[in-house]
Amino acid sequence: MLALALGQPIVLGIVQGAAFGLMAIGLVLIYKSSRVFNFAAGEFATLGAFAYYLSKDKVPVPIAAVIGVVVGIVAGLLTERLVVRPLANRPKVTVLVATAATAITIIAVQFLAGATGKTFAVPALWKGTLPFRILGLYVSYQQLIVLLALALAGGALALFFSQTDLGLATLATSQEPTASRLMGIRVNRVAMLTWGLAGGLGGLAGVLLSPTLGNFTPAYGTTDLLTQSFTAAVLGGMTSVPGAFVGGLALGLVQNLAQFNISSDTLPGAQFVAVLVVLVIVLLVRPTGILGKEA
């Protein structure tokens, strides 16, 4: 008899970790291109989930999901244009505070629209479960979709940075914006591209993860995803797309193992403690992360 509960936390952890990974890739993307920590990322996910929720009864569910992702992209582009670009030459901490202010503005708008204290039920993109058990658990198709989305996004972006000219231009912009501009790279376009992509990834995470939980609450991207995604990104080295991928999965596992094995009577919120412990250990012992190199 094993002392640890393993089956359920491993399966759930991988699925949740995939959503962390998606958001973490978005954070890495922005950090790689402009050295900014984007604290509005959680709300890109919430906005995506809200768009999915609001359009699910009016259009077919897959189209509603696409709408959710598009709303995430638009949120990312607007944040870049209205908040980040005007602060381009300012200290990065200032930009960080501005993205945090963006987050609270978006949260307040949700509350203004009457979302306070409600939960919003969202349907799965693909209903049903696999006909067999994995580690004693029925795995839903939705959970598989989340994993697949992470694998596709991670793979595509890793290729983007290593194989395409635009990817190289993005890396160049992050390291030397002025010289890159002189070399003919359109720095503003690169910023729009990365913020749009990051917004889309956030929206995708919101659209895909909320159905695996059945519902979501207002500001859930910030309360339930942001800390974990950042920690996942740091675990992967903050500049590495595959690192964010692996970091997300690792963090999902850590969080769920802690949650399932430590009862809330002895230590409430054990999953948050686990995240903090991982974050502090990584930052103190191996600040470059597990895959800490530019790729």
Binding site: F37, F39, L82, V83, P86, L87, R90, P91, K92, V93, T94, L96, V97, A98, A100, A101, T102, A103, I104, T105, I107, A108, V109, F111, L112, A113, G114, T116, A219, T222, T223, L226, T227, F230, T231, V234, S264, L267, P268, G269, A270, F272, V273, V275, L276, L279, V280, L283, L284, P287
Partner: protein, 371 residues
């Protein structure tokens, strides 16, 4: 002759005008001093009229604004003075709050013991966090505070033995300060003490050390400043302020619960209050804290009179949060000194200097404009 014409003469004392070469020091006339003294007296009268002419509830609104001011001043020490961002201030405030209510409610000590205990424990947790900040600076440290706030919110504040779990913890008010009106006086007294400490802090060696560390820790170390010591010192001060704010928060509310201290309601709110008020601008921070609570109180009623959708009117209580969020972004982009742009010249005028806008080199970030 032309020189005397150009110089404004009405405020200058006769006969004692030193030559411009020696750098004359401006002194207001007795009338000037009277005008300057009239301002704080007038403000006090307005506050008295506002609180005493009407209900006790109005005192409570102002008191909540003063509590936010103390909390925002705590954040100002970290963000403004040493340039370390904290996104986990719900931990700072909440730990002070629950410590005070534990000491007052469960151990049956007086409010003052609770206040001191809140300040002490608040300082201790901040020093622990500061130890991490010695190794991890800037953006990465912001992440640690974010995570620390989540741990406090979901773990520490839900420990049954410490906070009473979901039921909340009680903290009674001190004798003589039971009513809302009297407790406002208590909050004002505490805020005054914090402001005095803060004023002395930045005018002394520690303040200059903070400034050097904010500009560049390496350069500061080369000039012989003990960067580790002063970073921890700043954290301790910020933690003590936050602990005090938390103790006041608990006694103002009388009952506090884990749900009172969330990322959005405390950490982000206090951060935007600090930013809009103006980093390193005490007057601006206190002023915007009051604007924030007054806006929260009166904007909804005002909005309900406008032709707007029903849901917006029903939830208009969140309007002040939305507006402040936008204001914070606008402040960061266009006016990094925030409300301090207006309060700093006022403050210099009150101290007996000539009124001059933009005296302190507006806009330049990281430059302490205080003369």
């Amino acid at each position: 002759m032309t020189a005397t014409l150009e110089r404004p003469t009405e405020d200058e004392p006769e006969g004692s005008r030193p030559s411009p070469v020696e750098g004359r020091r401006f002194r207001p006339t007795p009338g000037g001093w009277a005008g300057r003294a009239a301002v704080p007296v007038g403000l006090l009268l307005i506050a008295l009229w506002y609180t005493h002419h009407f209900s006790q509830g109005r005192s409570d609104i102002l008191a909540s604004g003063l509590v936010i001011a103390v909390g925002a001043l705590s954040l100002n020490v970290l963000v403004g003075y040493v340039g370390q961002i904290s996104l986990g201030h719900q931990a700072f405030i909440g730990i002070g709050s629950f410590t005070a209510s534990y000491v007052i409610g469960q151990s049956g000590q007086s409010f003052y013991v609770g206040l001191l205990a809140g300040a002490a424990v608040g300082g201790l947790q901040a020093i622990l966090l500061g130890l991490i900040a010695l190794r991890v600076r800037g953006l990465y440290f912001a992440l640690v505070t974010l995570s620390w706030g989540a741990v406090a919110e979901n773990c520490i504040f839900r420990l049954k033995g410490f906070t009473g779990g979901g039921e909340g913890a009680n903290a009674s008010r001190p004798g003589g300060f039971i009513t809302d009106r009297a407790f406002l006086v208590m909050c004002a007294l505490v805020l005054t003490v914090v402001l005095l400490i803060d004023w002395r802090l930045v005018s002394t060696k520690a303040g200059r050390a903070f400034q050097a560390i904010r500009e560049s820790p390496q350069v500061a170390a080369n000039y012989g400043i003990n960067v580790r010591l002063y970073t921890l010192y700043a954290f301790a001060v910020a933690g003590v302020y936050a602990g005090i704010a938390g103790a006041l928060y608990a006694s103002r509310r009388i009952t506090v619960q884990a749900g009172d201290f969330t990322f959005a309601s405390i950490a982000l709110t206090y951060l935007i209050v600090t930013v809009v008020g103006g980093l390193r601008r005490r007057g601006g921070i206190v002023l915007f804290s009051l604007f924030y609570v007054l806006g929260g109180e009166y904007l909804p009623g005002w909005v309900r009179g406008l032709p707007l959708p029903g849901t917006l009117k029903a939830n208009a209580g969140y309007l002040v949060q939305a507006i402040s969020g936008v204001l914070a972004i606008v402040t960061l982009i266009f006016q990094p000194e925030g409300l301090g742009t207006f309060t700093a010249p006022m403050g210099r005028w009150l101290k007996g200097e000539r009124f001059a806008l933009g005296h302190g080199g507006a806009g330049a970030e990281g430059v302490d404009a205080r003369p």
